[in-house]
């Protein structure tokens, strides 16, 4: 469905952030993209969704294909109308708009009233809690409610591939697992393909089928989830486990990390 081939991304004409990154997302799958802060995960999503341009970034090499067609460096409007929707990190709700208006704002690519209504109902089917908040200003929602709202906005558009950036950020574990189980249902029932960026590797690997690990603008590891979980390095860096399965302190991990990088 999505194929990113060897892309290079440069910000402001000088800052090279992605250095030959490739990944593929198959239709109907949930794919996790893991990596440390600043590895370039968000940049990867922006390259796909076209938002890179807005921030003065550019794909200078390589190709991005969606359903067999080139979409690299296309405008975000065009990419959204093809069915790719980026849910940005940091829950960017429209604070001064109500929940209802936030949902309507995501319907730019839809034409018929009937479809809008159907999608509107679907949102409340998956997030019944939002229904009672329809008239509330989005700026006053709790972090969890805002996260539900931004995912719902992706459901309002005719989204086939959702690019989801750190949905768990700053939320309580209970709420996060609720949101993740809804994501899984969306994936299974609505055939929503998801490319999921997460710091919380454990969670991400719990719903994904395939995972990529990136470091310094490159993919350094990729495998099906079961294999990834077995991988010693993943255990070490992202799951916080050693061979025997006991937790190590963060400081040790960090020290170790400095010594050993993914790329020799």
């Amino acid at each position: 469905m999505l194929a990113v081939n060897n892309i290079e991304v440069i910000y402001d004409d000088v800052i090279l952030v992605l250095k030959g990154l490739s990944l593929t997302v198959e239709e109907g799958k949930i794919v996790a993209l893991l990596g440390a802060n600043g590895a370039g995960k968000t940049t990867t999503l922006k390259a796909v969704s076209g938002l890179l341009k807005v921030e003065n970034g550019e794909v200078t090499d390589g190709t991005i294909e969606f359903m067999g067609e080139r979409i690299d460096n296309k405008a975000p409007e065009e990419i959204v109308s093809r069915g790719i929707f980026q849910v940005m990190e940091g829950r960017c709700v429209f604070e001064n708009l109500t929940v209802h208006e936030n949902l309507v704002a995501a319907t730019r690519t839809l034409k018929s009233r009937k479809e809008i209504q159907a999608r509107y109902d679907m949102v409340f089917h998956y997030f019944p809690h939002l229904k009672s908040l329809r008239g509330r200003l989005a700026g006053y929602l709790s972090g969890g409610e805002q996260q539900m709202l931004v995912i719902s906005r992706a459901m309002m558009a005719r989204t086939r591939l959702m690019l989801l950036d750190e949905p768990s950020l700053g939320l309580s574990p209970l709420l996060v697992s609720e949101i993740f189980s809804i994501l899984k249902r969306l994936n299974q029932e609505q055939k929503m393909t998801i490319l999921l960026v997460e710091q919380n590797a454990h969670l991400a690997l719990s719903i994904a089928e395939h995972g990529y690990v990136m470091e310094n603008g490159k993919i350094v590891l990729d495998d099906v989830v079961d294999k990834l979980r077995e991988n010693e390095d993943i255990k070490m860096f992202y799951l916080g486990l050693t061979e025997v399965g006991t937790k190590r302190s963060y400081r040790d991990t960090k020290f170790y990390k400095r010594r050993k990088r993914w790329l020799a």
Binding site: V80, C92, N96, Y140, G143
Partner: protein
Amino acid sequence: MKGEFLFFMQFVMTGLSMGSIYALVALGFVLIYKSTSILNLAQGEFLMVGAYFCLSLTIDFGLNFFASFAITLVFSVVLGLLVERLVLRPLIGEPIISVIMVTLGLTYVLRGFVIMVWGNDIRQFNVFPQEPIDLWGVKLTYLYVWSMGISFFLLSVFVLFFKYARTGIFMRAVADHQTAAQSMGISVKRVFATSWCIAAVVSSIGGILVGNIAGVGVDLGYVGLKVLPAVIFGGLDSILGAIIGGLVVGVLEFLSAGYLDPYIPAINEVFPFIVLVLVLMIKPYGLFGTEEIERV
């Protein structure tokens, strides 16, 4: 009604109809500010160009006033688009202050254009009958009643548009969080263009109405300056605030003309500004300005 109260109401009503025109122009101003963060200093000149255009069609070309009115609206849509495309779009990404300076430059360009094409003497429309309508003792000319009617009608249309129409919601979304709006496929360029069009259209209408009342001259550009306190009064980025601000400035202007003018001549020109300063001392964001929603 009693004489004293009638005198008061006379100024309030005239003030309200003038204020409703200010409100309309203020709406255009706020719209551009909200969606693009640009203070359009050429708003008053849009008004002047619209008034001259309509006047010229009516008087020089002998068209029916309402026909000229309609043609002027089409013309202002084109004017708004042209200004956005030729002057502002190339400046996207430049510092806001430079863009504001460019709108200042635009005022001179538009003023020069008007003087070049139509000269600079004041001309009258004379299309509405002069005799006043009697509203429970308050006497208003047709012109004021029409102005109030047209302005209030348009203001309600815009309020509904921003609340319920999808395009209106897209525009507010862009004003709220531009990148997020883009991530959802809303075209920011189109929203900017729409804002400039609406601003040009409401200004032209305002220009035609004020031009009918006060005559069409280059001085119409100063109405833009009058609208500024209305806009700031309402909080710069609030549509409702602009409407209320416009009405308040209109009423203050006429009340001060009625009651204070005998003692301090021409006080009506500055009185709204004095009140503005007082309001800002108490409420720095204006009456309806958004202080950012902050969750900690």
